[in-house]
Symmetry: C2
Subunit: 138 residues, 2 copies
Amino acid sequence: MDTIGDLRDFGGADAYLSQCASRTVLVALANKWTCLLVSALGDGPVRFGGLRRQLDGITQKSLTQTLRTMERDGLVLRTVYPTIPPRVDYELTDLGRSVIALMAGIKSWSEQHVEEILAARERFDQRAAEEPQPVLPT
Amino acid sequence: MDTIGDLRDFGGADAYLSQCASRTVLVALANKWTCLLVSALGDGPVRFGGLRRQLDGITQKSLTQTLRTMERDGLVLRTVYPTIPPRVDYELTDLGRSVIALMAGIKSWSEQHVEEILAARERFDQRAAEEPQPVLPT
DNA sequence: CAGCATCCAATTGGATACTG
DNA sequence: CAGTATCCAATTGGATGCTG
């Protein structure tokens, strides 16, 4: 093994380092809307309105912003049909498709383990409430 | 197939729904620090200071907060040694270990595809700059 | 329909000071 | 060492109104 071989993963990128460009990629992926959008787009092209309905709770602003960022990052292809009223399709690029497994994985892990986590939260909050309070001078 | 069979994944949890508890789990996972912390804790117990050094750019406040949330969610086990000076170890629980693959996967995907994404960003910004500007009345 | 622009409230994040 | 507490700046997010 050569001396620097172990240090480099891929061209030396290391998301642990705040100045490494890969950190910006990780930040782009690691947020709820990107995760849910990649999952939703995993089945094929969807229109703006369709995504808005599927991602319950997202605002028009956040949807537009997240889609733009994903388009800029090369994850999403945006197709505008010059019809009236306008129609815009969004679909994953090859690059985008290569993250489906990870993003959909997070979504389904969340769904599979909700109960376990809710229980853990209750236990934690219960312990915290039972904890001896610092004595106050009476 | 029964009528509700297709609708339920796991007890009916669906992170697409804003009111579903699984959405809160997804939100907890889908952020940069949780992603990097799970990855960092994947190798075994680490002390607070060690994590702070490894996760370049994290503040003490964010580190404490994220670790507390993860502890509350049952992903992390916190062990305090009553020594002077104090020493605190953090390690993943079984539940936490079951997300390592996903979180570390995001980190390494980011590192593997940085260049591709940086190139996509440049192309996008280039196109945007070249776009015909709306005519202004002279 | 699929946006953009704007205003404003709320949450997040950093810097700093102090403690068992 | 491993925090807590606080203040304050910055970013995010929602609500609303308008447009090709």
